[in-house]
Amino acid sequence: MRKNNPQALTWQRRIMRMLPFPCAVLAIYGILYIINPVKISIALKSTGSIFSHMIVPISLVFALMLALNLFLKPAQIVKFLGEGSGIKGVILSTAAGIISTGPVYAWYPLLKDLREKGVRDSFTAIFLGNRAIKLPLLPIMISYFGWVYVVILTIFTILASICAGYAVGALVKEGESDADCRAQQESI
């Protein structure tokens, strides 16, 4: 008999944990259908229209996710972030933020480790800011808002993330946050 992989179980459990939300929405549909079937048929049409709008871009999302997972790995991105200073550091942190995927909390342990090894707070903040740009999700965004808007928003987001990085670095006064971080950990 095939053994259960504990890692696989974790993500399957995570999906199971998310299921109550769509099920609850379906239950609301059921209840409201009894009260107002006409409105529910309008809601279903609207839902169908949103789904049909998404089919092509979401297929592209999967293809882009696969390409990123194939060629870029967290360890490589972390290595990227830890290198360079000055302009090179800014460019590498920006690039690392843009190409990073997955939920942000998955990155916290690696970022913490890097900061303990001396990576500047401003670079960490630039990395986190640039995570706002989601390469695999661009097809969906373009299908909803048009490519002109997406290009303008992306450029301003990159510039703002760099400004935010330096502002956070200045506010935290690079280096002082390490003591703050340790104190925080001790209190947990």
Partner: protein, 268 residues
Amino acid sequence: MKIAVSSEGADLEAKVAHKFGTAKYLVIIDLDSEESEAVPNPGASAQRGAGMQSVVLAVSKDVEVVLTGHCSPVVKNHLAANGIEVIPDLSGTVSELVERYRKGDFGKHEEAELGHRPKWARIDKAVFKNAARTSAKQFGMLLPILAGVVMLMGLFNAFVPRSFMASIFSGNRALDTLWGACFGSITAGNPINSYIIGHELLSSGVSLFAVTAFILAWVTVGLIQLPAEIAALGKRFALARNAVSFVLALGVATLTVLVFNLVVGGIY
């Protein structure tokens, strides 16, 4: 080509370490130049995530093969995903293992199978399978919430009158942008959901300023994730980053829509 041997000591006569993640050293040998270096393994003293730290070290040193004692399947997967071949369950000294590797005692190596293609161009079956599995997981984890949000948006369109949205988003650009950023800050999850909600808000007559601030704050400001960010990166850093990101979401939203209006001819 570089190979790494997990080792109990810093020299070539040291014994191979029992576990890759907690080995005291990684002795890295360049088979072409014959140079070697012993790098202290940060995972040796780590209480958690030792294996991952060793993976980061191996990747940062451009290692292509790891010779070790025990290597957990998770760590092995991470190494394989980074194009590093693992040859586990070995014993002996570092120099003995390197010699055996040179002689081809460990069978046909991935290097031989893949030729001398650059590391980035090596897509073997295992790496592809790993990437496909990861993508399927990421995609699978995105779908339940996405389906729920889309169905909610259907309900929203059918039941919420436009006058209700107009009562919250009054048409005052500054105030609407602020509201958009506030809503974005308290929500979290995959950004696709913010695009869907943003698009539906736009269709309901909410200004593009508010929608842009909402989309930006959704990904850059995370009040729900704040405790996790504080725990990992410190209170001062987390609070400063979220505050700065909130202010910048307002600024970027305003600038983006102003420039967009200039480019497309002022419709929002």
